[in-house]
C-alpha cells in the first residue's frame, strides 16, 4: 500500500527538481539577453550622442570653415559617424554616394560663428552652405547659397560718387594670401588684389591683379583692377593701352566704361 498524499508530495518535489534545470537555463538566457541588449543599446545611444555632439568641420577649396551642427541624427552604424562634409559639391557627392548605413538624415546648417565669419570677411569666392540629408536613401540635397562676393555697405556720397568701404581686416587678407599660396586659386588672388586696391596698396593690387591674370586671363575684374591700379600708380597710358587690348577681344562693357572714365579724367 501507499500513502497517496506522501506520493503526491514526492511527485511535486520530483517535478520541481526536473523543471529546475530548465528554469535555470531559461532564466539565465533571459538575464544574459537582457544584459546584452541593454549594453548594446547603451553603446548605440552613446555613439549617437557622440555623433550628435560631433562638430563637423569641413574646409572647402577656399578653406572656408563651415561649422556644422547636426540637428537630428540617429545613426546606427558607427562608420557613419564621420559625416564631415567637404563643401566641394562633387567631392561631397562622391563621399555620400558610398553606401553608408545611416538610418536618419543628417542636416548640416551653418553655425552662428560661421555666419559671423561671413559677416566679418569679404570673401571673393562664394561660400556654399551644404545641407545634406537622408543618407539612408543616399540622396544628398545640397543647397548652395551664394553669398555676395563682396559684402559691402554702399553709401552714397553727396557728390554722387560711390565710395566703397570694406569690412575686411588685415588678418583676413593674410589668411586669404596663405590659402592662395596653397591653392593658387585665381579667385583668391583677385580677392587679394581688390582688397589691396580698396585699402590703397596699389602696388600690391597691381601685382595680385597681374598674378590673377597670369592664372586666368578671362577674369574681367583682374583686368579692371590691373588698369585701375596702373592709373593710381600714375601709369594712365599703360592702363588705357591694357584696357584697349582687353576690349578688343572681350568687348567688355565694364572695361569700356572704365576706359571712358580714365580718358575723361573721372578716374584718377
Amino acid at each position: 500500500m501507499f500513502d497517496i498524499n506522501e506520493l503526491e508530495r514526492k511527485w511535486l518535489t520530483y517535478k520541481i527538481k526536473s523543471y529546475l534545470p530548465h528554469a535555470v537555463i531559461i532564466t539565465s538566457t533571459i538575464v544574459i539577453s537582457t544584459i546584452l541588449f541593454t549594453t548594446i543599446n547603451y553603446q548605440n545611444s552613446k555613439n549617437i550622442v557622440q555623433d550628435v555632439n560631433r562638430t563637423a568641420v569641413a574646409k572647402d577649396e577656399n578653406n572656408s570653415i563651415v561649422k556644422a551642427e547636426i540637428i537630428t541624427a540617429k545613426i546606427v552604424d558607427s562608420n557613419t559617424q564621420n559625416n564631415l562634409l567637404k563643401n566641394e559639391p562633387k567631392k561631397a557627392l562622391d563621399e555620400k554616394n558610398e553606401p553608408k548605413k545611416v538610418e536618419t538624415k543628417v542636416v548640416l546648417t551653418p553655425s552662428l560663428s560661421f555666419i559671423d565669419k561671413i559677416n566679418k570677411s569679404t570673401l571673393s569666392e562664394p561660400i556654399r552652405i551644404v545641407e545634406v540629408e537622408a543618407p539612408a536613401v543616399e540622396i544628398i540635397k545640397e543647397k548652395e547659397r551664394v553669398i555676395a562676393n563682396e559684402e559691402t555697405i554702399i553709401h552714397e556720397e553727396p557728390k554722387g560718387s560711390i565710395n566703397i568701404k570694406r569690412q575686411s581686416t588685415q588678418n583676413d587678407i593674410e589668411q586669404v594670401i596663405k590659402r592662395f599660396k596653397k591653392s593658387n586659386d585665381p579667385t583668391l588672388s583677385l580677392f587679394i588684389a581688390k582688397s589691396y586696391y580698396n585699402s590703397g596698396d596699389y602696388n600690391l593690387a597691381y601685382n595680385y591683379a597681374l598674378t590673377t591674370n597670369e592664372i586666368d586671363s578671362n577674369l574681367e575684374t583682374s583686368w579692371i583692377i590691373f588698369a585701375k591700379s596702373l592709373v593710381k600708380l600714375d601709369q594712365k597710358d599703360k592702363a588705357v593701352e591694357t584696357l584697349k587690348e582687353y576690349i578688343k577681344h572681350s568687348h567688355s562693357a565694364n572695361a569700356k566704361a572704365l576706359l571712358d572714365e580714365i580718358l575723361s579724367g573721372e578716374m584718377r
Partner: protein, 269 residues
C-alpha cells in the same frame, strides 16, 4: 467507468508466471516457434538467455506447456542447488527411481545406462546461472550422452556469458536472446494484456504519449512494466474511490505514471 475495472486492470499486471496470461508480441512469437522447432531437432542443448525481466521464465513455461502434449518434458523453475538432490530429482522424475541416500553423478550415470529409454526426455532448467560450476559441468557431460536434452535459461550478464562460453559453447546448438520490448511492442503488450482480461476501457486509455513515458521509465522491461502498471492502476483505483475528480478516464495521466514510478523506485526523488 466502474471502480472494479481499475482493480481488474491492476490484477492483470501481477508479476506471476502464468501461461494463460502470456502475451507474445510478433517478434518474440517468431523466436518462440523457431526455438520450439529446435527442440525437436537432435541437439544436445538449447540456451535461452537475456536480461532479467525479458520474459525468459514465461517463455520457458510456455514451451513446457506446448511440448507437454507431444514430448516427455520436465520443468524445473526453481534451481536445485545441491548435486545429490538434483540427480535424485532427475532419477525420480525421468527414470522413476526413488534413491535413498546421496546420489552422485557417477551413480546417476550408471542408473541411466542401465535403463533403455526409447525417447529422449527434455529437461527445462530455469535460472541456470544459480547452479554451481561443478553442477553445470556435470549437466554438460550428461547432455553429451544424448540420453537427456537440456534447455536452460541464463541471465545475460558478463559473468553468465562466461559460463555459457566455458561450459556450453561446444554443446549448445541453438540459442535465443530475449530482449526488452520496443515502445510500440510495449503498447501492444499492455493493450493485449488488458484486453485479454476484458479491460477494454483501461486498454483504450493508453495513448502513444503515455506508453512512451512508460517505455522511458522501464526501457521496455516486462517485469518493470508489470510492476509499474500494477501500482498505476492501484493509484487510479484509490483516486476513483476517494477523489474521482482528480482523474480522467480518457487517457492515462503522466502524473500518475510518474507517481507509480516513484513508488516502484523507477524514479528516485
Amino acid at each position: 467507468m466502474k471502480s472494479n475495472i481499475f482493480k481488474n486492470s491492476k490484477n492483470v499486471f501481477l508479476d506471476i508466471v502464468n501461461t494463460e496470461d502470456y502475451i507474445q508480441i510478433d517478434r518474440v512469437s517468431k523466436m518462440y516457434h523457431s526455438f520450439k522447432d529446435s527442440v525437436n531437432k537432435p541437439l544436445k542443448m538449447l540456451l535461452l538467455y537475456g536480461k532479467p525481466g525479458t520474459g525468459k521464465s514465461m517463455f520457458l513455461t510456455k514451451l513446457y506447456h506446448d511440448l507437454l502434449s507431444s514430448r516427455i518434458v520436465y520443468l524445473y523453475q526453481t534451481p536445485i542447488l545441491d548435486d545429490s538432490e538434483f540427480f535424485k530429482t532427475l532419477a525420480k522424475d525421468i527414470l522413476d527411481v526413488k534413491y535413498e541416500g546421496d546420489l552422485n553423478f557417477t551413480q546417476f550415470m550408471k542408473i541411466l545406462d542401465n535403463r533403455l529409454l526409447d525417447y529422449v526426455p527434455i529437461v527445462l532448467l530455469d535460472e541456470a546461472q544459480l547452479y554451481s560450476n561443478f553442477l553445470i559441468e556435470k549437466i554438460r557431460l550428461l547432455s553429451d550422452t544424448r540420453k537427456i536434452k537440456f534447455v536452460i535459461t541464463l541471465h545475460k550478464t558478463e559473468k553468465e556469458d562466461l559460463i555459457a562460453k566455458e561450459h556450453f559453447q561446444t554443446r549448445i546448438w541453438d540459442s535465443i536472446e530475449l530482449k526488452n520490448a520496443s515502445a510500440s511492442e510495449l503498447k501492444v503488450y499492455i493493450q493485449k494484456k488488458l484486453m485479454k482480461a476484458n479491460c477494454f476501457d483501461s486498454a483504450n486509455m493508453f495513448q502513444d504519449s503515455s506508453v512512451k513515458l512508460i517505455y522511458n521509465l522501464t526501457h521496455g522491461n516486462y517485469r518493470d512494466t508489470n510492476k509499474l502498471l500494477y501500482i498505476l492502476f492501484d493509484i487510479y483505483s484509490h483516486y476513483h474511490e476517494n477523489n474521482p475528480t482528480k482523474i480522467n478516464t480518457i487517457s492515462i495521466s503522466n502524473k500518475i505514471i510518474e507517481m507509480a514510478a516513484i513508488h516502484t523506485g523507477l524514479i528516485h526523488v
